[in-house]
Amino acid sequence: MLSFIILLPLIAALMVLVVPQGYCRRVSWVSAWMALALVVAGAPGLAEVLGLTWRAELAWMDALGVRIRLDNDGLSYLLVLLTALLYPLSLWAVPASSVRKPRLYDALLLFTQAPLFGVFLARDALIFYIFYELALIPIFFLVAFWGTDPSRRITMKFFIYTLAGSLFLFVAILYLYLQTPQPHSFAFDTLYALPLTAEQQALLFAALFFAFAVKIPIFPFHTWQPDTYTAAPLGGSILLAGIMLKMGIYGLMRLAVPVIPSALEHWGWLAMVLCIAGTLYGSLVALRQTDLKRLVAYSSLAHVGLIAAGVLTANSSGWQGAALQMFNHGIIVFALFFSVDLLERRYGTRQLNQLGGVAAHMRHFSWMFALVLLASVGLPLTNGFVGEVLLLNGLFQYHTTAAVFAGLAVVLSVAYMLRWYRLVFFGAAHQEPKTDVRPAEAVALSVCLVLILVIGIYPLPWLQMTEQVTSQLLSIMHHPTAVKP
């Protein structure tokens, strides 16, 4: 019954709209914390002890074979946990006093959480699709109304582009639905068992890959991303980069790869080339960015390209790496956006050439950020290393060349991140001394740092979480006929 966690943020969002102004944030807080508590209580292992279950199945449009099927496994759980975790953090990062119309802001933020939970818990393609689209609407308003100046045009582009992508997803899902035996069904398990010809699979793969590639985004379908991440308010950037793009990768894992194994075999290399070209492309462009937020955007492009490439390898190392790295990326990208925002609030700019010598004034912030940076470049004993090494190993098993080029991107990541650190933190201070990281800010960063180190030093529990489900999904892919729910 834990799946009803989806309703919690919705109810909270409605409450936020009606309670007196002073209570808005409190309601949001309670909701975010309750969601986190529920998710933690539903952790694998703990949930059984507490007698909680995630599975839910509700009749909805039975005539059409549409049922609200929700369930949880390691992969879903990791992303649900990430969502639940990033919410209190992003509320914490953006005080109500610092936004215009805090009531509406909080309501939209909470409205987004419900479909995000839904996407990761859905076990029915139509439900998945509905949540996938629903998440887009509140984030559109968040970016459009709270973003920086030219955001209307940028948001419009983002909205239309991703919507166009989703259209392909919708068509693909409907097509799959029509292939199912009578009575038709959208259930994932039914879709997995479909015998599809190679041509059908190729077309479906094209549609699904395009749909998810826009969302993730994968080069060359990324042109909405840097502008949107840059124009979005902090909360929006965090949601977009931290969680929303994972819907795309998750979709690839849950909906695309297990359904179309032969297409992946024949055409997967093409998608792989795009992913890896994207990681190199993103890294090279990040190397020349002067705006820190854009730098994060392009580095994120590079990192998610690598994760998507890991999914396309369709081997256990690549998949476990992808699953873990999705979580890691969420944590790291939050910390990066948060740090950029912190710098911008202090210094009034986020241009590399206008900052410098920050280490002189902000000692604690400097070392905290350094640790985030190390996780981002995947240094051993940080979470980034574990994810990256599994991804690269998966790629290596897939094709040596893929691993070499992806590895070059990892080298480049050091170049652009260290350039950032050097230009911003080192050197002579250009500006007036500023106060160091405040306790409230330190708390948000510390949560990230603890996770970075805990996962980096002892990643085993996190890997075990996704072990079973990845092998399950991969075995479906490799033996498409021998599937049973």
Binding site: V389, G427, L460, L463
Partner: protein, 633 residues
Amino acid sequence: MQQAPLLLLFLPLLGFLINGLGYGFLRRKVVAWIGCSTVGGALALTLVLFAHSLTTDEPLRLQLFDWIKAGTLHVAFGLLTDRLTLVMLLVITGVGFLIHVYSVGYMWDDVGFGKFFAFLNLFVFFMLLLVLADSFLVMFIGWEGVGLCSYLLIGFWWKNHEYTAAANKAFIMNRIGDLGFLLALFLMFRTFGSTQYDVVFQKASAFVADDPTLVAITMLLFVGAIGKSAQIPLYTWLPDAMAGPTPVSALIHAATMVTAGVYLVVRAHVLYALAPTTLTVILWIGTATALWAALIALTQDDIKKVLAYSTVSQLGYMFAAAGSLAFVTSMFHLVTHAFFKALLFLGAGSVIHALHHEQNMRNMGGLRALLPVTFGTMVVGTLAISGAPPLAGFFSKDEILLAVSDRSVVAFLLLAVTALLTSVYMFRLLFLVFYGSCRTAPHQREKIHEASAIMRWPLLVLAALSAIGGFLGLPALFGNVHALSGYLHPIFVVNPRLVPHEHAHAFEIFIMCLSVALVVLAAYLTYRRYHLRPVERSVAIPAMPRWYRWSYYKFYVDELYNSLIVRPAEWLGDYFQRRFEPRTLDAVVEGTGRFAQRLGQMLTGLQTGSVAAYLLWMMGSLIALLWYALFKS
């Protein structure tokens, strides 16, 4: 005893945590005590372990926990302490401890005193992890960790933009090598299903010599070694790394971290012995690097730059030995080099300290009387590295020359020339710094003082070690008394491909005489050039002969890399960002959008509201459909 390696490993980490968390409020004295005592404790434990190792051949194994487990990939976090590890441990904790003590004096007045010791301890922790690891992947943790500490310490004086640029360069170039290491790890997983030494070596021995997979693994590992140990083509970061405080140069960039590549090759000797092709590559890269760096060192005016290129050159020697299957010799030179190069760097540091951060040797001169202890120990260091008998370098370098002569006469000759060059640049340094007239500014001259006791003692100890270190490996001429070879015997006995070469005693004696002759020749040449003739405070480089200019400007390799790699990458980034993305990619996207809009506009033209027009369209389409249906069949 079983837990000793763990304690040994975590002592420096503890020091890092205390000094790191206490940074800003711990007093200098406390910081110094914590920093030194943790490494000192590690040294004590190492000695205990060493004593234990003399009684048994069995290595100590310690399994801590499963680290990564995903699919076929399974990595356990384990420690292995065998005799090879112990040799490295002795160097790291021994030399490390001395350098920690020296640093107390050297860094006392620095505002970042606590930070310095925290980083230094962290470095020792990672370095210990590197050598204590029982698998290549765990070694990789230490490998990247020491790279991080090197970055942090090169950029220690972070207000200087040049220094931080050097730090970035070091990290990035190391990362290029690390990519090779990482790929080797993946290939090991694919081939052996593990990266644990025992498993890998055992399974590898089933392969035939020069099996392509083994060659690939060893080559990739060597790429990692090239990055970390600053060999051609990834050596240019090490001279720049001299931006760090001098004790850092001594510890990280001379005695320990840069030798990690050599340790890696020696550790993987089972694999390398099975890959003669790789060995040949190692031999030639080592030889070429030794000569190349020595040529550059000849003309450098910065005292630390001379020593840095010297380090690159000496590492080349170690690789040349490893490439000749003489792994013990390689380790021998690693140890003696750690002694005399740490000594030389600390001596240089003492000079720099006395002259208030003057590093240009042309502004020194005549310091012999002012800094007697530094001078004396530097002389020992210089003689040791030059290979004057019976100091440390004499034995280890001769052994290398002997080993290389079995493999290739050309390499042997090149290394002999390098030995001459080594003596030349070292005596040049000695003459420029300590002899002749004092060229320091007069107001500074009075302030020159000998280093404090805390800095003198490490110098003296290292000088003693440099003097007698060679007796660890006496040549066969004196009977079977090679102590190091005897100690490391259990490590290499498992490798059937390592057969000790017997050399004619006459040849050994010839090489010894050659060594001595070269030292004397070098001393004579530099004496004439730098002692009998006055030294100019500045030289007009353009007026110098061509070879001098090329050497002085380091053969323009940095410039070459800049124009071949850095600038094209930047150009590409700019091109993508300014042209490709907005004008090509986005143009297509927006074009599609505009096309849809245009189409919509065209279609709105149809929606006139006139019923007559609609009827017309309807009739028209109906007729078309009928037409199609009729003529289809």
